[in-house]
């Protein structure tokens, strides 16, 4: 009953999405407010029905209703409650349902809070959301129905893949989807602007908070996924240039470029055509990511060919939306007026450079991810493109970007003064050089690469601070004046300073971890001691115990520094009988930003166990950086100009009316 209700709610959501796709467009064409306002109510009710559908699936998972195929295949009655909940989206059908739920949520948010938008623009934006929604509802209903029943319900389920039974994964997919799908709003705004043939600085101001929200979630989602891979997969790697990771990195790179070009458009009315294109590309890359992950094309071109129903459906959605929007762009973009001239050395120029490098980086990831697929389809040749390729091509693009980052905010709009900016960055530059020299001396000339990179990262961090110092006249004006000025600074200035500093901090973490990571791979007996990164680690014991739906070998390690115990670590290896799979539960000891990481391997008959111990210096900075970036984004989001938004003609008219009445 619940399953059928959920299914029916989804069908109703599809119908509402179809109405939302058509009626507001006609309304905008005829300038009929009633028809345009249909978009608002359909967006809200569509969200309600999708939410009901999602709630139904959640209920089925929570109550372990194994008569539903999706629950049977992904759940188990003994599974802890939290993983019964997260299991809802830990599978193909459920995660697609989450995808449309978030899409409907964003649509409803625009409907509810978009009162300051011109009515026709809001109607068109929601109509485009309706198109996307309708396509994906159709996809779910036609190929991936999560509510399908089994004729003879089994007693017990097959359990969720154990590697997914982790709290990191409970939050990771919703975060990532909030980012992916959030970019649909920027896309809808871009398409709506192209249809209307009108685009101005106010448009950029409306789009910015949505783009920023999506970007914040995507940043956190990627960082969280990376941390999850780090501790759950058991060998301490945190980025693998895997196609699935690349699929989330591409929209992030394009979205970051979009955030920056939207600033130029908002402040200077320039780069309009480019910003619209970026908005389209960013969401197209999100769709591409969905296609790559959902179609099975990554596993092998042949699995894709053997069961093509889902893949081909998403591929059609992909072609329709990307092709359609790009065609619309080609047709209408020339009608948009370009404004705002600027010299190459200027704030705009710096942001254009940012866009050039980010887009190239994005193109590199794109080519590296899709080239092997394309080559295999076209010629049948199989090649591999992995981490070594990306490290070689991606890093050289990010380096000039890092060096340019501190200059951007210090340059004036229209025509900047590079010499003046360099002078103001002298302190940051000196600090960077000193860091390089000290590190180089400290590592006794052990390679110049790491000190150089860390020096650049320090330059980025202090460069970001320089902007704040300059604007508050810290060290030059009395402290009280500086504090007063600091409070008066726009939040977006603080936001970009935090985000840029976060970039530098993440780079420090990445360089430290990759350069000075030390490891020990050994077969250890109880009482054995190994030394890793200056720490002595002793294996105390290994015991067997029973968990709720697994058996585990649990071990205890004592970590010592100069003979003093500083911590006990208990890594384990779990065996899930239902799926005949095992997972390693690595144990981590955090010292400042560095970590000691222990993971267990196979036990042997003689009582010895294979152990991997790492010392990872400054590794936490890798994720602290993105958190700081997201925090910067959040600060920017609370900026007054975004809260106030564009002028509201209705209210002004009312006020004017009131004034007249008072007179």
């Amino acid at each position: 009953m619940i399953a059928e209700a959920g299914h029916y709610a989804l069908v109703l959501a599809l119908v509402l999405a179809l109405i939302q796709s058509v009626v507001p467009v006609i309304g905008a064409r005829l300038r009929d407010p009633a028809l345009m306002n249909v978009a608002r109510s359909t967006a809200l009710t569509q969200f309600a029905f999708t939410a009901a559908s999602f709630a139904a699936l959640t209920w089925l998972h929570v109550t372990s209703d194994f008569s539903v195929a999706n629950v049977f295949e992904n759940s188990h009655s003994l599974k802890p409650m939290i993983y019964k909940l997260t299991g809802v989206w830990g599978n193909h059908e459920g995660s697609m349902l989450l995808w449309v739920l978030i899409l409907a949520l964003f649509g409803a948010l625009v409907a509810a809070f978009g009162n300051n938008l011109p009515r026709s623009l809001r109607a068109l934006v929601l109509a485009v959301q309706g198109w996307i929604g309708a396509a994906f509802y159709l996809f779910i209903l036609a190929t991936s129905n999560p509510f399908a029943r089994i004729a003879n319900p089994p007693m017990e389920g097959r359990d969720l893949n154990p590697i997914l039974q982790d709290i990191g994964l409970a939050i990771h997919p919703p975060m990532l989807y909030l980012g992916y799908v959030g970019f649909s709003i920027s896309f809808s705004f871009a398409v709506a602007a192209l249809i209307e043939g009108r685009i101005d600085a106010a448009w950029a101001r409306w789009v910015r908070p949505w783009t920023l929200t999506a970007w914040i979630f995507l940043t956190l989602g990627i960082a969280m996924g990376s941390y999850w891979a780090y501790y759950e997969l058991g060998w301490g790697g945190w980025w693998f240039w895997d196609p699935v990771e690349n699929a989330s990195l591409m929209p992030w790179l394009a979205g970051t470029a979009l955030l920056h070009s939207a600033v130029v458009m908002e402040k200077r009315d320039a780069l309009k055509i480019w910003t619209v294109l970026l908005a389209i590309l960013t969401f197209s890359l999100s769709l591409l990511g969905t296609f790559l992950v959902r179609s099975g094309v990554l596993t092998s071109v042949h699995t894709f060919a053997s069961d093509p129903s889902r893949g081909v459906f998403i591929l059609m959605i992909l072609c329709l939306f990307i092709g359609g929007s790009l065609a619309l762009y080609a047709w209408r973009a020339t009608t948009l007026k370009q404004g705002g001239l600027f010299a190459p050395i200027s704030r705009e120029g710096a942001l254009v450079l940012n866009n050039l490098l980010l887009t190239t980086a994005c193109a590199t990831v794109f080519v590296g991810t899709l080239y092997p697929l394309a080559l295999e389809v076209l010629t049948g040749d199989k090649i591999s493109v992995g981490a070594p390729f990306f490290n070689l091509t991606f890093a050289p693009l990010f380096l000039p970007l890092m060096i340019a980052v501190p200059f951007g905010p210090l340059l004036a709009w229209k025509r900047g003064d590079i010499v003046g900016a360099s002078q103001r960055l002298t302190a940051a530059g000196i600090l960077a050089l000193v860091t390089m020299a000290v590190l180089w001396a400290w590592t006794k000339g052990g390679g110049a690469f790491a000190p150089l990179m860390i020096g650049i990262a320090v330059f980025v961090v202090f460069g970001a601070l320089t902007d704040i110092v300059e604007r508050t006249q810290l060290f030059r004006a009395p402290l009280s004046t500086s504090l007063h000025r600091a409070r008066g600074l726009p939040r977006s200035t603080w936001g970009s300073a935090f985000a840029h500093a976060g970039l530098g901090i993440a780079l420090i973490g990445i360089v430290c971890e990759t350069t000075w990571n030390s490891e020990s791979i050994a077969s250890m007996q109880p009482k054995d001691v190994v030394t890793v990164g200056g720490y002595q680690v002793r294996l105390d014991d290994v015991t067997q115990q029973q968990g709720p739906n697994y058996r585990e070998a649990l071990s205890h390690f004592t970590v010592m520094l100069d003979g003093k115990t500083i911590g006990i670590l208990s890594p384990s290896k779990r065996n899930f009988a239902t799926r005949d799979m095992s997972t390693t539960e690595a144990a981590l000891l955090t010292r400042g930003a560095s970590q000691i990481y222990i993971s267990l391997g196979d036990s042997h008959a003689d009582g010895s166990v294979a152990v991997r111990i790492y010392h990872k210096p400054m590794v936490l900075l890798i994720w602290f950086g993105p958190v700081l970036m997201a925090f910067g984004g959040l600060l920017s989001l609370t900026d007054r100009r975004l809260r106030v938004g564009a002028p509201k003609p209705a209210k002004v008219a009312k006020k004017a009316g009131a004034l007249q009445a008072a007179e």
Partner: protein
């Protein structure tokens, strides 16, 4: 397992029986320098039955065989290049995680620099064109007639002379 988006994992886990780590204690070479070479070579080689994993990361039996093979060749005195060539001869180009530059991978290697150069050039010319157009407009609207210029000069001279005298 090297993927962070869980979505795909469900599909792919079927291929890999367990999420264990790669290099086993019994594989490690006695000479640390040789072991380091083996590790860095391992990172460039693909485990052919896995999803985009290097043999250094993979726990598949095939990856173990390849790791042992790499170490065998190193112990036999092969250079890094010889080890790579040996593996490519035996398993094909597919084993390389960083494809060699050749006709069929030319686009792969060229697209990033081409995008950068192309984008840079487009910006350069776009900027020049806009500046010219702007200069042209300004030139047209601010062209002074000879009479106007003569008047302007007179005005400037009139303003400068009192300052000089004063």
């Amino acid at each position: 397992m090297k993927r962070i988006v869980p979505a795909l994992i469900a599909v792919m886990l079927m291929l890999m029986p367990s999420a264990l780590y790669a290099v086993q204690p019994d594989e490690i070479m006695a000479d640390p320098a040789q072991e380091a070479r083996a590790r860095s070579l391992s990172r460039e080689l693909r485990c052919m039955v896995c999803q985009n994993q290097s043999i250094d990361d993979s726990d598949a039996p095939l990856a173990r065989d390849l790791r042992l093979l790499v170490r065998e060749r190193i112990a036999a005195g092969s250079t890094d290049q010889q080890v790579m060539d040996f593996l490519v001869a035996r398993y094909g180009e597919f084993v390389l995680l960083k494809p060699r530059v050749e006709s069929r991978t030319l686009l792969l290697w060229l697209i990033p620099p081409l995008v950068l150069a192309g984008g840079g050039l487009a910006l350069w010319f776009g900027n020049r064109r806009r500046n010219r157009a702007a200069a042209g407009e300004e030139g047209a609207s601010f062209q002074l007639t000879p009479e106007e210029e003569a008047r302007l000069e007179k005005l400037i001279a009139a303003q400068e002379s009192p300052e000089k005298s004063g």
